[in-house]
């Protein structure tokens, strides 16, 4: 995984609550067997009409946001299906940070496995950020979001922060506990399936 660097960009305001992962990547694109190239399917049914033409009223289709790396959106983002394809699509499209009042649990943990930073802030702050027209800076190291007028601090679990900053392989970290896992298995009374 790439290590997470400071991000500076304008924000894409997606003013919706309960955005589910079926919207982030519709199911017809889940049949691929690799992780790459999902960006073109991001919000597919919101971006394209039935003839596969871009819908002019959807925010991502406004060229002003083409280089935006930060999405600011509503409550309970990423709810529903556990599909990690949602994270792959957001990243492949170009997003590095998603800011919302809250995230669905599975989506939230999927983000950290791929180097996408989800930041949850109180609803009032999120609302204000959605209006921000100038670029903002997200500094994970210092846990600060810098806007043209203020600095907003955010919370993040220290282990997750380290994983992102160092771009660590989560599994390699876990395998350092091999002896503990083996010890647990020796004491486990749960029978095998087979």
């Amino acid at each position: 995984m790439k290590s997470f660097k400071k991000i500076k960009s304008i924000i894409t305001p997606l003013d919706k609550i309960n955005v589910d992962t079926d919207q982030i990547v519709p199911k017809q694109f889940l049949k691929l067997i690799h992780k790459s190239g999902f960006g073109k399917f991001l919000f597919y049914n919101w971006r394209y009409d039935e003839n596969e033409n871009l819908k002019s009223d959807f925010i991502l289709n406004d060229s002003k946001y083409d280089n935006s790396e930060i999405m600011v959106t509503g409550d309970n983002f990423g709810c529903g299906s556990s599909r990690e394809h949602a994270v792959w699509a957001l990243q492949d499209y170009g997003f590095s940070v998603i800011i919302a009042p809250s995230f669905a649990d599975i989506f939230f943990s999927n983000c950290f496995k791929n180097g996408l930073l989800p930041i949850s802030l109180n609803p009032k702050t999120v609302e204000k950020l959605q209006q921000e027209l100038d670029p903002i800076e997200v500094d994970l190291e210092r846990q600060i979001i810098k806007t043209s007028s203020e600095e907003i601090t955010f919370e993040i679990d220290s282990y997750k922060k380290k994983i992102l900053l160092d771009g660590l392989d989560d599994i390699a970290q876990t395998l350092q506990f091999e002896d503990k896992i083996s010890e647990f298995e020796r004491n486990s009374k749960v029978p095998s399936v087979l």
């Binding site: 309960n18 199911k27 017809q28 889940l30 067997i33 529903g80 599909r83 649990d105 791929n114």
Partner: protein, 471 residues
């Protein structure tokens, strides 16, 4: 202080505990399917890693398998590749697979309990959010992403933040349990607590309204915990649980001694503390019908479509959401639910495609024909369910009523296979999600119980099944 059932299972699975932050939790059972696993196996190959415990790992194909004649080739090439990829991965890494021709094939959350793989007091994960289903057995079970699938394949563990315990008490007794079902109970709960009401928690369901339910009905309740945003749902195992799992194909040999331990250990202490509580009385609840684009947008069958103002109770974001949902669903406030005409009926999914669901639905259908404007299908949750249903003649009841009788799979719950809605089609569905486009781009989903779906198929619109004789 006492402990909740969830806390007891959690603590008995801690491999590494840290002062702050996540714990490393051992996983007793890992269920795999074709859609969320290929990239995980890719990761193993890339890093030259093995599957640590193939003996705790079980695979099947369910999400994109066609549900028509199994002897026909799979026409969708990308689906075929994904299915072949699972076959190859299972072969290469030594994992037991119930493939498309296996009598044990079916929706992963239906076959786990049916095969006795799901056990009380254990931890189960699967790259599928409806893994919460297995919680009906007193199992800590939850959905994970593909990176976590890879993590479990390699290490049989996961780093997890400890969720908070949430008690949902279901009191009372339904007057007509054939008409008001587990699906109506869980939709009522979600309607009340909202689709993120359970975020960050594991729900423990308790009360007479839960203990009265059969195991299959309890699975329907736990299945939809994720639709309330919860990580998992749990129900304390009892004699019904132990009876259900006895003598299944993979029930452990020392089952009775395990049962003795479970009886002693797997319960919430009287003085245990929950972070959150909610109580629902079900004495008078009605069959539920969803009208919007998330499962919280649900009302009684006797009600009319609410206005966005009524629904949102002053929350501007909720109001906007409801307006958009009504627009997508092509519905107007004030329309009685029973006036809504439907085009399609889907009886299936990990929520409601078990034998009991099909038996109950068949009572509505028996001797009737579906409305000429409706196309209806039954997709049993597993090949075992299909066979059991055929053994008691349910297939004939459905086929005689002009239902399509299909092979097992996830089918039109998420429309990854050819079973999809056309744009604008309106469906009464026993599945779990009414998200935009879930059952097909532009399709409109109303979530209901199997009896409500069956009755809607016959009448061509929603009806209150309490007015029918279902005994």
């Amino acid at each position: 202080m006492g402990k909740t059932l969830f806390e007891k299972i959690w603590e008995s699975h801690i491999v590494v505990e840290k002062q702050n932050g996540p714990s490393l939790i051992y996983i007793d059972r890992h269920l795999i399917h074709e859609v969320t696993s290929p990239q995980a196996f890719d990761g193993l190959r890339m890093n030259k890693r093995k599957v640590r415990r193939p003996d705790l790992t079980i695979a099947t194909m369910d999400h994109n398998v066609p549900t028509n004649d199994r002897s026909l080739p799979i026409l969708d090439q990308t689906s075929a590749v994904q299915i072949q990829t699972l076959e190859k991965n299972c072969k290469d890494f030594g994992i037991k697979l119930f493939d498309i021709n296996s009598p044990n094939q079916g929706i992963v959350h239906v076959i786990g309990p049916q095969l006795g793989i799901t056990l009380p007091g254990t931890t189960i994960v699967c790259g599928d959010s409806h893994t919460s289903t297995h919680g009906a057995f007193g199992t800590l079970a939850f959905g994970i992403g593909t990176s976590e699938v890879e993590h479990v394949l390699t290490s049989q563990t996961l780093w997890l933040e400890k969720p908070k315990p949430f008690e949902i008490r279901v009191d009372g007794k339904r007057k007509n349990p054939h008409a008001v079902t587990a699906k109506d109970i869980v939709l009522s709960i979600i309607k009340n607590i909202g689709t993120s009401g359970g975020a960050g928690t594991v729900i423990e369901y308790c009360g007479q309204g839960i203990t009265d339910l059969s195991m299959e009905q309890r699975m329907t309740i736990c299945n939809m915990s994720i639709e309330a945003g919860a990580r998992a749902g749990l129900i304390t195992p009892d004699e019904k649980t132990f009876d259900y799992l006895r003598n299944r194909e993979y029930t452990p040999k020392n089952y009775e001694s395990l049962v003795d331990n479970w009886k002693e250990q797997l319960k919430t202490d009287n003085d245990a503390k929950f972070e959150k509580q909610f109580t629902l009385n079900i004495d008078d609840i009605a069959p539920q019908v969803s009208w919007g684009t998330n499962p919280g947008m649900t009302c009684d069958v006797t009600e009319s479509i609410p206005s966005p103002e009524e629904f949102s109770k002053g929350d501007a974001n909720q109001k906007k959401g409801a307006e958009k949902a009504l627009d997508y669903m092509d519905l107007k406030p004030g329309i009685p639910i029973t006036d809504i005409k439907i085009d399609r009926v889907f009886i299936g999914s990990c929520t409601n495609a078990r034998l009991e669901d099909l038996i109950e639905a068949s009572k509505v259908v028996k001797g009737q024909k579906i409305s000429t404007n409706v196309r209806a299908m039954v997709v049993p949750g597993s090949q075992m369910v299909k066979k059991q249903a055929e053994d008691i003649g349910l297939d004939k009841i459905f086929i005689n009523a002009n239902f399509e009788w299909r092979e097992a799979g996830c089918s039109m719950c998420l429309g990854m296979n050819p079973d999809i809605l056309s744009p604008g089609e309106r469906c009464a569905s026993t599945s779990n999600r009414n998200f935009e486009g879930r059952q097909g781009t532009g399709g409109r989903t109303h979530l209901v119980s199997p009896v409500m779906a069956a009755a809607a198929a016959i009448e061509g619109h929603f009806v209150d099944v309490r007015e029918m004789d279902l005994s």
